[in-house]
């Protein structure tokens, strides 16, 4: 075998190893779900909650929708990637109280490939909600 041939074989082998090496390192995807915070915001109407919920969901995920009319229950999914569907989703619920509202966060993520855990997703949503509620 000539030196050039050996070089070609070595490069081919290196390519195969690089391509197949990752086969042994795939982690199984798992569903991650998080019951986020629930809090009462005083002296605010539920319409303010609805507005902040929609803004937060659209900031962190996309296409936030309210389930039904004036239900205060908002839902959104992450952008689907080319290999998967949406790997993250969340719900924000707003409930009217007397001169206040109650808001809850629930998040789900498929990890991997989602870069965020469900808890991290809920933390982001809570922060986005709070900044929109100010």
């Amino acid at each position: 075998m000539t030196r050039i041939s050996r070089c070609r074989v070595a490069l081919l082998a290196a390519g195969l190893i690089a391509a197949f090496g990752s086969l042994s390192t795939r982690a199984p995807a798992a569903l991650d779900m998080n019951v986020g915070v629930s809090k009462v915001v005083q002296n605010q109407p539920v319409s303010a909650c609805n507005s902040s919920a929609k803004t937060a969901l659209n900031a962190v995920l996309q296409n936030a929708v309210q389930l039904g009319v004036d239900t205060g229950e908002w839902l959104a999914f992450g952008a689907p990637d080319s290999a998967n569907g949406s790997t993250a989703a969340a719900a924000i619920h707003c409930y009217p109280l007397a001169a206040a509202y109650l808001v809850t966060f629930t998040c789900a993520a498929q990890v991997p490939p989602s870069p965020d855990s469900a808890a991290a997703l809920c933390t982001k949503l809570t922060a986005a909600f709070d900044s929109g509620a100010r």
């Binding site: 070609r8 490069l11 391509a19 090496g21 199984p28 798992a30 993250a88 989703a89 993520a109 498929q110």
Partner: protein, 221 residues
């Protein structure tokens, strides 16, 4: 020029290897929107029913903090060993009675039923209603011992080189004696082997021999 050819070979090998990786098409399915208002009963009544309803379908429901009325449980696909479903039931006290909401999430296709089907059954278990049987969760098959001929789990040795051995696992992984990994799938007697490329082999009727694509393997008992 020769270096260029070598680099082309390297690139082609990378490309072929990448193509052999099967893309996992999976997604999160979330169901929200089911709620129920009870004119009677306390928060603790709601909590007791929430825990019972959850545990009908998912094991080990827990309350996020004692007395919060927020209940949560996860279910595992035993065949994959990973969580594939989860649900939360939240109870809120009203001046008279309580309101309860149901949110469910599943990972598809690892989970055999959707989030809405799960939530509907948990809700119906809570306040009454038609229960629709959910598709059965896959259960772990016992690891075959000896020469099980219905799958490839076990050890195999190459007829051409007795030092070349393969260990095939229940989850479809395979590893050779050098630690190189791959995958196997069997459909009837046709075996697709992903190991330095994709290969189609045939399992012999007695389940003891695999052959094709330059491979001749015999099951070790």
């Amino acid at each position: 020029m020769n270096v260029k050819r070598g680099l082309w070979l390297f690139a082609i090998a990378i490309l072929l290897g990448s193509l052999s990786h099967t893309a996992a098409v999976a997604s999160v399915d979330l169901s929200s929107g089911i709620r129920y208002v009870s004119d009677t009963g306390s928060l603790s009544d709601c909590s007791a029913k929430a825990k019972a309803a959850l545990e009908t379908y998912l094991p080990g429901a827990t309350e996020s903090s004692p007395g919060s009325g927020e209940w949560f449980a996860m279910g595992q696909n035993i065949a994959t060993g990973a969580s594939s479903s989860g649900a939360t039931v939240r109870c809120y006290p009203l001046a008279k009675g309580y309101v309860v909401t149901f949110i469910c999430a599943v990972q598809l296709p690892a989970n055999p039923f959707g989030a809405h089907a799960l939530c509907l059954n948990i809700a119906h278990k809570f306040y009454g209603g038609a229960i629709t049987p959910l598709a059965a969760m896959p259960t772990a098959s016992p690891v075959p011992t000896g020469c099980a001929t219905t799958n490839l789990v076990g050890s195999w040795v190459s007829d051409n080189d007795s030092k070349r051995t393969f260990t095939m696992q229940l989850n479809g992984d395979l590893t050779d004696n050098d630690g190189v990994s791959g995958n196997w799938i069997i459909d009837g007697s046709t075996v697709n082997l992903t190991y330095y490329g994709n290969h189609t082999l045939k399992l012999s009727p007695d389940g003891k021999h695999l052959s094709g694509a330059g491979y001749n393997l015999t099951r070790k008992c």
